[in-house]
Symmetry: none
Subunit: 401 residues, 2 copies
């Protein structure tokens, strides 16, 4: 879709993407072979579906279950296979860390090393978060810089932490030090390419100094590093589409992701209600708003069918308030499906509503997976939602004459 | 679809593409939320749909509104993104000019230049067509050749004209001279690449001579040039598919386009009736016939819902006569949609009928956007219609063993 950039034009229309994380599901044998959406009472979503066109969107490809990173990239119109977001970057985004362009982000684990130098426990007995937080603080005080590279330590849950290297000429092409099995020695962070030599040297010194500092810890006496990643090089979203863009989310990872994409991403609170309030206050000033609802995914991940039904009905109750701002184009969709039957992300396409006054001819009057399958949009890549939204916002010129 | 060429085989079957320009639409709130096709009475199209398979076809991509050039390329099985038809070429085709392979076609405007050398009016007060025609005649008499390059002037509507450079070693990679805003000086036609130096020199001399000739005109005292374009390099349609091909259209641009593609394109008259008569007389001698109906697009462009309904019903009335020649494969489709609600081309897919005695299993009995969505073909790129037509004509061998 490289042609899109030459076709952009500006106007006063406003686009809303309401993303209900993991909203799609599959029929559950314990609940009348209905999906969560089919079981839930959703008069407001159904009413919106009735005056919109509908379809199913595929985040990555048939049969591919995406993580939240690729699923959202696709939703925002970036090819999720071409633009991979590394684990370290996702981990940093997950704790709300603001990555800079040339940073290398790393997932760290505390581990227990035996006297023979072999890894006894890759997770240092899953030490409590408070304890590991103290150790991270100690490391940060002692190791702030190596060879001109700034070293940033951030605590995570239990044995986990995030390490960020900040400086010039860094690379993520270095061998991971986690041996992946207990009873093996840690691996040396050797360079995987010539340009990674400097990073490798910094990491070797870092590991050696950390070992010295941690030598008296009973459990967390060493560190393992993996998931090295630089932020992906992406054309910022506002530039890609010519849209002044606002992201409203209450979970850190989604905020981190949209910050990476250059959307205005204020911290507005920890609940969906906070997000809606912020939308009501600020939404009118933006061409594009991404509004994220996390609860549906959480309930699905927990394998709790009725909880997910409840969270869907909660979304439905809030819909009139959200739509009170009368955006010109409305997309309601998931990023990926999270069927409670599977208690995790899945490959199933997202039931999707696309509203505009000229969206097309559609007979679907309810918002469910089965109904959306019959919709006007058909089954399309999630990446096509942004072009469709722009077209419906009358923000695209004609291609060719 | 490069594999297609190796699979072609010949037989006596005949294929008809009946293209109703811009026939697709979207529901209109003033007319019971029906589309033009839903509002119109089309017993003959419905009868054909009932014994055919149906679907929706996408000219370029989801959300992309195509011009007539890309939309038709796609219909004829050429990738419309890869093969862009430049503005100058389309303008030349639009006045029925027969372009040759190495020509450079240019859109010209007469403009008014002030005494300070700045453009006062980019359209020379939209001088009447008759007046500008006279000026073009004068320019043609005075400037026929520059540095061995033939210069061809052709009048257009009001302030517009078409300029064609014919000769060896010409390029379309030259800076456009239209400053795009009044109060600025015209831009020099500098070369954009080394190979464009000769063309740039020719244009500079041409502009300077035209200025001298026009110096006493009150309004049209200068020219602005843009949209330089060479005809795209395309495998001729008859060769690409092994089909003796006839194009019947009553609007110049469509005739120009099919001539460019190497189809036999006679001038048969100015009305759809003329085209149908010619088809009845000549159609039997061809493997493939493209039959173009313009009225639906015109009414859509005018934003006239009832007029478009009327033009659809007019097409329907003529259908039995058209199908009297009993082609083996019939495609009825649009090139792009032109909803009267939007009063212009749009991105919505084309409702499409594909008839052959072995087209497939389909439950659709009416020809509308909503019905075609439920059809056997699904939502497919318009580029796939030619392979499907060839297959239904039994003109393709098996791929592999």
């Amino acid at each position: 879709m490289e042609i899109l950039r030459d076709l952009l034009k500006e106007n006063k229309t406003r686009i809303l993407f309401l993303v209900a994380d993991g909203i799609g599901g599959v029929p559950h044998p314990d609940y009348g072979n209905k999906t969560e959406l089919e079981y839930a009472k959703t008069p407001n979503l159904d009413e919106l579906a009735a005056r919109s066109v509908t379809g199913l969107t595929i985040p990555v490809d048939h049969g591919i279950t995406p993580g939240s990173g690729p699923a959202h990239l696709s939703l925002f119109g970036y090819d999720p296979v071409k633009h991979n977001i590394g684990r370290g970057v996702l981990e940093a985004l997950g704790i709300g860390f603001k990555l800079e362009k040339n940073d290398v982000a790393i997932r760290g684990n505390f581990c227990t090393l035996g006297p023979d130098g072999l890894v006894l426990d890759r997770r240092a007995g899953r030490i409590p978060t408070e304890e590991s937080g103290e150790i991270v603080k100690k490391l940060q005080e002692a190791i702030k810089e190596i060879d001109g590279v700034q070293i940033i330590w951030r605590p995570g849950k239990e044995h986990r932490f995030v390490l960020v290297l900040r400086g010039e000429g860094l690379s993520d092409r270095v061998v991971e030090t986690d041996p992946q099995k207990e009873g093996k020695p840690p691996v040396e962070p050797e360079p995987l390419e010539e340009d990674a030599r400097k990073t490798s040297e910094v990491l070797k010194k870092l590991i050696s100094r950390a070992k010295e500092i941690l030598k008296d810890e009973k459990k967390a006496n060493f560190i393992l590093l993996r998931g090295y990643a630089k932020p992906p090089e992406l054309v910022p979203f506002p530039e890609k589409y010519g849209l002044k863009s606002l992201s409203l989310a209450y979970y850190p990872m989604y905020k981190g992701l949209t910050r990476l994409l250059g959307m205005d991403t204020p911290d507005v609170g920890d609940s969906f209600e906070d997000v809606i309030k912020a939308y009501r206050e600020m939404g009118g000033e933006y061409d594009y708003v991404y509004l994220h609802y996390k609860d549906t995914d959480k309930a699905g991940e927990d394998g709790d069918f009725l909880k997910k039904v409840d969270r869907i009905e909660n979304l439905d109750r809030h819909l009139p308030e959200i739509l009170g701002l009368k955006p010109d184009v409305i997309v309601v969709t998931g990023d990926h499906s999270t069927p409670s039957l599977l208690a995790g992300h899945s490959w199933h396409p997202n039931p999707t509503i696309l509203y505009s006054p000229h969206a097309g001819a559609d007979d679907v009057h309810i918002y469910t997976e089965r109904a959306c399958k019959r919709g006007y949009l058909g089954i399309i890549p999630a990446m096509k939602l942004m072009p469709l939204a722009l077209a419906n916002a009358l923000r695209l010129k004609k291609f060719g004459a």
